[in-house]
Amino acid sequence: AQSVTQLDSHVSVSEGTPVLLRCNYSSSYSPSLFWYVQHPNKGLQLLLKYTSAATLVKGINGFEAEFKKSETSFHLTKPSAHMSDAAEYFCVVSYMEYGNKLVFGAGTILRVKS
């Protein structure tokens, strides 16, 4: 069955330190992968996406993610956290072989300490 696992439900970092939000997915021969960010009581905003081009994807606000097919992972990183990065982050996979079925991870809440 298709599944997306965000390994941490909560991550806490200090301002200025690196951010790592982890995402693993069940194998697919041609997935599209996305990271979305959601601030409290707001809709989701696309951070970045991988759609079979370069494996290292750069997004908005300094975030990037690397697609590693052998590890079925798509971890989100940022070199230096900012207070405004505090939000919930969702990893989403589109499985083309299942009619572009979208599967959401459960979300990771990022807390940034001053």
Binding site: G43, S94, N100, A106
Partner: protein, 113 residues
């Protein structure tokens, strides 16, 4: 650009009352549209999706229903709300990029008392 307008933004309703949340899309025609619910501490749960006017697929059996009376309009309804219907409801559309990318409305916070 493709955008979604969703209203009302917040709603407080008594148990047993009806519900209507509305979503309209701009910047694209005949998009796939979705209703998600986000309960506290949980991820997003797909409730309904629609590939066109009058075409609704339900993912989870419940006392909610959806309708798509026009190409760019998607409505979530209930005849009688339950306490468990409380949550944050998001309308989303599928971007016309054929990659699975979604664009979201700002959400509607429903509290059932």
């Amino acid at each position: 650009s493709q955008t979604i307008h969703q209203w009302p933004a917040t709603l407080v309703q008594p148990v047993g009352s009806p519900l209507s949340l509305e979503c309209t899309v701009e910047g694209t025609s005949n998009p796939n549209l979705y209703w998600y619910r986000q309960a506290a501490g949980r991820g997003l749960q797909l409730l309904f999706y629609s590939v066109g006017i009058g075409q609704i697929s339900s993912e989870v059996p419940q006392n909610l229903s959806a309708s798509r009376p026009q190409d760019r309009q998607f409505i979530l309804s209930s005849k009688k709300l339950l306490l468990s219907d409380s949550g944050f409801y998001l309308c989303a559309g599928l971007r016309a990029t054929n990659t699975g990318e979604l664009f979201f409305g700002e959400g509607s916070r429903l509290t059932v008392l």
